[in-house]
Symmetry: C2
DNA sequence: TAGATTGAGTTCCGAAAAGGAACCTGTCAA
DNA sequence: TTGACAGGTTCCTTTTCGGAACTCAATCTA
């Protein structure tokens, strides 16, 4: 499969990765959540090649994740801000971050922590069911065709007992 | 910055992406959660070049996300299974999937849905605070150095008012 | 018992993407 | 009129990917 076909796959993860699934994109979005908005700031913090950065920002803007907002005229300058669609990536970023905190940190612990201002505690995200509020366990979830399923949706047979 | 330096960055997201941050890896893991375990199954479902698949499976195994488990001798054959570290990616997968359901689905809706067997409802994940249980809002979280922070941790200044 | 099959890769080649450095374009300030 | 600043583009080299063919060991199958 070519990478450009990914956004037409009948899978929301594949479609998500057609936007976010490369080396740099999620790091750009991480920096957006940290308040970074300008080309030079992204470049300095990420150490990314300039043309790759320009390409990623363009694609994220086209995808509606970022928006270019002018912050001065003469010369016209624009900065990149998360849209509502971009802000909605927050749970996914937190989940990836929490995984890194748990499994990729050295013995000293994670380099950065997040505090929930609402309750004042250092926090990590817990993924709960939107309906009953219980934490979601992969073994307690089943996958089924949704409203937008094509006729030939390939749901794999499980080989042997479930995981 | 070179890609190989990413796992030494003082950022758990960067370290996570040093393992997961490329075109195919998260799709491989998605299939693992769907019960796929064998080389040929991955190849058939993903349409990935075989040597790229071999490389990704090797790296995921080295990273401790998958484990090679023999399922027969004579001839010896091995399959790939999620370890506990791999299973812990479930919340991140769900969060990315839910984002795709909301923002990348066509007008008919998402192609696949998940049902929470515990409560019987079609569900999506909600990310809540581990301490107070309230849903996490990016505006209510602040970032600060953690126990493993280096001395020169680059937390950006916010330019202008906070988002 | 020769030949096909299966599962899990490896090799090779041309195309696409990334890394790195230099260059370009308005505008203003010295 | 020279320099700085912000935000890119261009060019060239190195890596990685996509696709097809090949390998290899251990069975089935005729």
């Amino acid at each position: 499969m070519r990478w450009e076909e990914l956004d037409r796959q009948p899978c929301s993860l594949a479609r998500t990765l057609s936007v976010l699934g490369d080396r740099w994109t999620l790091l750009v979005i991480r920096d957006c959540f940290m308040g970074v908005r300008r080309f030079e700031q992204f470049e300095a913090r990420l150490g990314i090649a300039r043309h790759v950065l320009a390409d990623r920002l363009k694609k994220l803007t086209e995808a509606g994740v970022l928006a270019k907002v002018p912050y001065q005229d003469r010369p016209r300058r624009e900065e990149y801000r998360l849209t509502e669609k971009g802000l909605a990536l927050h749970p996914a970023l937190i989940a990836l971050l929490d995984w890194g905190d748990r499994y990729m940190a050295g013995p000293e612990g994670p380099p950065v922590q997040r505090r929930h201002r609402t309750c004042g505690h250092v926090t990590h995200g817990v993924s709960v069911c939107s309906e009953c509020g219980e934490p979601l366990d992969p073994r307690e979830m089943s996958v089924e065709p949704g409203p937008g399923a094509p006729d030939d949706l390939p749901l794999p047979e499980r080989s042997g007992k479930t995981r």
